[in-house]
Structure formats: structure tokens, C-alpha cells
């Protein structure tokens, strides 16, 4: 078939055994930085497990785990500048924590409170978008504003493999190409969209091939390797910031979890495939690398886990200590100022509360 024989090379630094296959990128060539990457992944994993547990015990609502996909967010966040903007989806915790979003805010959102998206320490990043792929469109708008103001900034927006089937994804990459906007589209290709495997999602040879439809740069990267993700994103962001060259990055990973806590993947996922993917997961690999090449000890490892657990414990306490919204606050943020209708409805509502408690 014409065209299908074109290949995107998959960029890898660490192999599944933690063996470094190319020299480290300069920006990561110190032990501290590498440990930081590891710490971010561990932090994410520890948080993720705790969040699932909160859901299971009824202390929080439905939650989408990102187990197995921690390297993507870690590499992406590490490559971003503070004044770049993130337009995320729901498996980007590792990125969000680097962007200043608090763990307790993430819990608060999944705990059913809008304040979880208020982001005390992050003014410009978008909240996650539940309607799949819609955020791609916002990202190009943010990128347009940066270009309009001639700022050397860029946008990273993320989505899943399933999202690449949606019109919004394609309209966005196409307009990013047509208007030459500083935006990087990162696709977390975890091979599943709830119960639909990638093979049913698209016949495209790879997700990276979709970049050709928009005339933007395409990259494929090992999404279980935070070094590779960092490196590719750094390059892509550089081109975006300085040359207004948009790109699409396909990060290959696997969803080592149910779709969300409301899902049961055993209904549809072949156990063998899952077991094989487990072998490739980022934390084991990175630890092996650190042990082999960076004098990483079991004690170091334990101490990092202990640290992360402490952080998460604090976040859970903060989550549980959040004040309730004042009664009827849901009327208050629809518009800059409550309309007359909303004012009347709020009064009516308050009167009802008064009557019935």
C-alpha cells in the first residue's frame, strides 16, 4: 500500500532491563536529575495507589489510575518550561505535580469538588477535559495567543490513543499545522480505550503517522522511558517555542490498570498481554538502571518510597480537611456576576434549605 511502508523510528534510551542504549541527554546527566525523575514516578505511583484506595473505601469517587504510564508525564513535565502551558487529560498526574498542581487538588476533583480544578499554584494550565479530545482544540488557541504575543512559549496537550479517532484531535493537529502554532500533541498510547484495543481503533500503521495528515512533525517514543520522553519533548518544545513548529509525539506504553475504578479490565483484556506489559513498566526499569549505573541502594529506594508516602499521607489529610463549599455555591460561578434569574433561583433554593434543613 502506498505510504504504509514509511516508518517512524521509536526513540529509546533505556531498554527494558534498564540498560542505557545511548548517551544521556546533557540536561539529565547528573545523578540528582535522574533521581528526581525516579522520584516523580514513584510519587505518582504511590499517590495513584492511595487514590484507588480512597475510592474503594468510599472516600472518593471514580478515579482513573495511571499505573504503568508514569514515565510519560514525568518526561513531559520535566521538559516543559514554567511559562509553557499544559492542557492535560486525566492520566497526567506526573506532569501536573511538576506544574504546581497539588496532590490534594487532584483528590478534591475526583472527590466531587470543583475547587480541585482551581489550582492555587498554577494559574494558566487547563483542568483535565472529560469529553475526549476536546482539549486539543483549546491547546491550539492557547498556542495562538502565545504566537500572537510573540512569546517564546509553547503548549503541551495530551490525550489517549482512543482520542486520536475523534474529529477534534484531527481538526486541532490540522489547524496547528496550517497556522504554524507552538503546540506539541502528546498521545499516551496505552493500547486500550476502555475495552477497545488499538487495532480496532485505527488501521493507521502508527499513531505517529497521523501527523502526516496535518503536515506536522511526528515522533514515536518509548513511553516507559522517562529519559526518552524528556528528550523528545525537549526537542519538540524547542521547535515549537522558537520556530512555531507543531508536532505530534506518540508515547508507547500500556495501561497497567483498569480504565477507571468503575471498570473491570479482566472482562476484556488478555492476561498474557498484561503480564508481558508488566515486564516493561517504567519504575522497575528505571530502578534497575539506577542500581546498575547510579549506585542506587535498597536503602535509597526505601527512603524515596517513605518520602513519597509521607507526601501522599499529607495530601490525603489536606483533602479530608478541605472545608465544604458554602451552601448553594453552585449558583455563584456560572457568570462573573449572578444573573437575575440565578439570584432568584438561589434565594428560592436557600429558602428551601431553611425550610427543610
Amino acid at each position: 500500500m502506498p505510504g504504509s511502508n514509511f516508518n517512524f523510528e521509536t526513540i529509546e534510551f533505556l531498554d527494558p532491563n534498564g540498560q542505557l542504549k545511548r548517551p544521556l541527554p546533557e540536561a539529565l546527566a547528573t545523578r540528582d536529575k535522574l533521581v528526581e525523575l525516579y522520584q516523580l514516578m514513584v510519587q505518582t505511583r504511590v499517590f495513584d495507589r492511595a487514590a484507588i484506595n480512597l475510592q474503594r473505601t468510599g472516600a472518593m469517587g471514580t478515579y482513573p489510575s495511571c499505573e504503568g504510564q508514569e514515565a510519560i508525564g514525568t518526561g513531559v513535565g520535566y521538559a516543559m518550561n514554567e511559562n509553557d502551558v499544559l492542557v492535560p487529560y486525566y492520566r497526567d498526574i506526573a506532569t501536573q505535580i511538576q506544574r504546581g498542581v497539588l496532590l490534594e487538588e487532584i483528590l478534591r476533583y475526583w472527590g466531587g469538588d470543583e475547587w480541585g480544578m482551581h489550582f492555587q499554584h498554577q494559574a494558566q494550565d487547563f483542568p483535565i477535559s472529560v469529553p475526549i479530545a476536546t482539549q486539543s482544540c483549546h491547546a491550539v488557541g492557547v498556542a495562538y495567543a502565545m504566537k500572537y504575543r510573540q512569546q517564546p512559549r509553547a503548549v503541551v496537550t495530551t490525550c489517549g490513543d482512543g482520542a486520536t479517532s475523534k474529529g477534534d484531535f484531527y481538526e486541532s493537529i490540522n489547524i496547528a499545522g496550517a497556522l504554524a502554532l507552538p503546540v506539541v500533541f502528546v498521545v499516551n498510547n496505552n493500547r486500550w480505550a476502555i475495552s477497545v484495543p488499538l487495532e480496532k481503533q485505527t488501521a493507521a500503521q502508527t499513531i505517529a503517522h497521523k501527523s502526516l495528515a496535518a503536515g506536522i512533525d511526528g515522533y514515536r517514543v518509548d513511553g516507559n522511558d522517562p529519559i526518552a520522553v524528556f528528550q523528545v519533548l525537549s526537542e519538540a518544545l524547542e521547535l515549537a517555542r522558537n520556530e512555531q513548529r507543531p508536532s505530534l509525539v506518540e508515547a508507547l506504553t500500556y495501561r497497567l490498570c483498569d480504565h477507571t475504578t468503575a471498570d473491570d479490565a479482566s472482562r476484556y483484556r488478555p492476561q498474557q498481554e498484561f503480564d508481558a506489559a508488566r515486564e516493561l513498566e517504567p519504575l522497575i526499569r528505571f530502578k534497575a538502571y539506577l542500581q546498575k549505573e547510579q549506585q542506587w541502594s535498597d536503602a535509597d529506594d526505601e527512603s524515596i518510597y517513605a518520602d513519597c508516602k509521607k507526601q501522599v499521607k499529607k495530601a490525603i489529610e489536606a483533602y479530608q480537611a478541605f472545608p465544604e463549599q458554602p451552601p448553594g455555591q453552585f449558583f455563584d460561578y456560572m457568570f462573573a456576576k449572578r444573573t437575575a434569574d440565578l439570584e432568584q433561583q438561589k434565594q428560592e433554593w436557600l429558602a428551601g434549605v431553611k425550610r427543610h434543613g
Partner: protein, 326 residues
């Protein structure tokens, strides 16, 4: 005879009609091996095969658009949209095509198809999973909008929707999907569309509702009975086109009306019912028509959704106001 939840009734209606008519096919995200995120299509893949139970890519516009093409060829596609909050990408196909092809071609190409979506709040689901925007579709010429509120009506109305020669938006109140079972005969018999169901006779006031709110409406009626108010309860069921006759008849007898729905108040389907009462029905009205509804706000995230939902207390308050009006 079996006892079913609404969800089981939906599933059985599928099984029954797919067994009867091989033109019936089901398509949507996760409808196959996963049986749908609510399990409404559970077992269908095994029973009818992957050609008839189609797991699609994640793309609502083409899912509905594709169903239009299938219907034009004589298939009877049933689309599952995962949640009503994800129906909007398909609105263009629904409004500009599904509802218009018959008229556009003067009957040459028709769209016998069903678009199903679970809707409504109250299950502590995430953002965008609690929509009640049935009014959008009720305003669209050329569409039927049908909402069951019990297992028997889910079964009978879904059969009717599948067999109808025109497109039907079939909204399933997910809050009551698994709430309460009912004996339903699996006899393949459809219930009538375009007809209200009077669920409770009464002489003092008419309560009009549909979907999950029927539950609170009936509860309110029961409590009201204890304080001497005898309420008639009408389940609109087909919210478009409206069977206004039944409602007008009832209000002609009771003189008072409270409409209950979860959707935002302004421009909700309650407005159309109240408007017709203000028109044709005005001579019957002894009191203002009250609407007990969701507010003109987004459905709050789950921790606060109870604040939003029209509950039994609010219905009773409205009824009492209406009863006291002179």
C-alpha cells in the same frame, strides 16, 4: 416470568428484537465484549456476533452518521452513546441529517434508528456524566424523544423505538437503572409511543414528570396523600411529540399542575408543557403552573449534586403552594 431491573429490561428488549429481525444491529463504544459500560448490551456479542454488535472507534459523530447510512440501506441500527454528555459531537448528524433525510428526499431515504444514551444525575459520577439536556432534542423537528421510567416501559418503549420507521432518541434514566425490579413478560410486545402513562389517578393536582424524577414524584404523591392531597401522576414518556391531550385532560379535572424535571429550568421541556397550559389549557388553571426542576446551572460535581436535584421536599412544597393558591 422474570423480574427485571430497567437495565435488564433494556438488555432483553435488545435480545428479543435482534432475535426477531436480523436487520437490527448495535454499535457504539465498548458495546461488544465489555457489554457497554452499564452492561446494557451484555451477552449480545456472544449471541449475535461481531457483525451485529459493533465496537466502534471513539468518534461519536461518525457513529451516528454511520447509523444514518446503515438505516438508509434498510438496517435498523441502535447506537449507544456512552453518556448523554458525549452526545454533543453527534448533534450535527442528529439535527441536520437523521431528523431530516425523510423530508429532504420526500420519503425516498428514511432513518429508522435509535440513539440510546444513559442520562441524568444522582449516581455520583464524574463531570459531564450527569446531563439532562433532553430539551435540545425535543425542540428538533423530525425526532422522537422517548424516556422510560420503569422496567416494563423500558422494555416496551425500546421495542417500539426500534420498530418505529423514524429516528428515536431514547434516553435511559441511569439513576434508576438498577433501582427496583419488576415482573416483565418477554413477549416482544411494544408499548405505544407518543403517549403519556398515567401512573396514579388523583383529583386535586396533576404532577407531570419523566425519567428518574418519576421516583420522587410518586414518593411525593404518596406523602401528599397522607396530608389529604390526592395527586395524579403523569409520566410523559415520549417527551416529543408531546401527548398533551392526556395532560390537558388531567389538569381540566384537577385545575393545578406541578411539573418535575432534572434538567435546567429555563427552556426545559417543562416550559413547553407549561406554555401549552397557558395556551389551550388556561381555562382549567386554578393556580400558577409550578416547575420543580434543576437550576440554570451546571450540575455540580458529585459532592454537591444533592443540592441541585429536585427532591421530594421541593415537590411537596410546590404542590402545597399550588393548593393554597386562590
Amino acid at each position: 416470568m422474570a423480574e427485571w431491573t430497567q437495565l435488564e429490561a433494556v438488555n432483553q428488549a435488545f435480545a428479543s428484537e435482534m432475535g426477531r429481525d436480523e436487520n437490527v444491529v448495535v454499535l457504539g463504544e465498548d458495546v461488544g465484549i465489555n457489554g457497554g459500560v452499564f452492561r446494557a448490551t451484555e451477552g449480545l456479542l456472544e449471541a449475535f456476533g461481531a457483525e451485529r454488535v459493533i465496537d466502534t472507534p471513539l468518534a461519536e459523530s461518525v457513529i451516528v452518521g454511520m447509523a444514518i447510512g446503515m438505516a438508509a440501506q434498510g438496517l435498523k441500527p441502535i447506537v449507544e452513546l456512552q453518556f448523554m454528555g458525549f452526545i454533543y459531537p453527534a448533534v450535527d448528524q442528529i439535527i441536520n441529517h437523521a431528523s431530516r433525510l425523510r423530508n429532504r428526499t420526500r420519503g425516498r431515504i428514511t432513518c429508522p434508528m435509535v440513539i440510546r444514551a444513559p442520562f441524568g444525575g444522582g449516581i455520583h459520577a464524574p463531570e459531564h456524566h450527569s446531563e439532562s439536556t433532553e430539551a435540545l432534542f425535543a425542540h428538533m423537528p423530525g425526532l422522537r424523544v422517548v424516556i422510560p421510567s420503569s422496567p416494563a416501559r423500558a422494555y416496551g418503549l425500546l421495542l417500539a423505538a426500534i420498530r418505529d420507521p423514524d429516528p428515536v432518541v431514547f434516553l435511559e434514566p441511569k439513576r434508576v437503572y438498577r433501582l427496583g425490579k419488576q415482573v416483565v413478560e418477554d413477549n416482544g410486545e411494544a408499548l405505544p409511543l407518543d403517549t403519556c402513562f398515567v401512573l396514579r389517578d388523583g383529583i386535586d393536582i396533576t404532577l407531570v414528570s419523566w425519567g428518574a424524577s418519576i421516583k420522587e414524584t410518586l414518593e411525593a404523591a404518596q406523602q401528599l396523600a397522607q396530608i389529604g392531597v390526592d395527586a395524579e401522576v403523569v409520566d410523559v414518556a415520549t417527551i416529543s411529540p408531546l401527548d398533551m391531550g392526556t395532560i390537558l385532560d388531567s389538569v381540566a379535572r384537577t385545575g393545578r399542575c406541578v411539573i418535575v424535571h432534572e434538567a435546567a429550568r429555563s427552556g426545559g421541556v417543562g416550559a413547553e408543557i407549561a406554555a401549552r397550559l397557558a395556551g389551550e389549557g388556561i381555562a382549567s388553571l386554578l393556580a400558577p403552573v409550578k416547575r420543580v426542576t434543576g437550576y440554570d446551572t451546571v450540575m455540580p460535581l458529585y459532592r454537591y449534586e444533592d443540592q441541585y436535584m429536585p427532591g421530594v421536599n421541593r415537590i411537596i412544597d410546590a404542590v402545597q403552594e399550588a393548593m393554597e393558591y386562590r
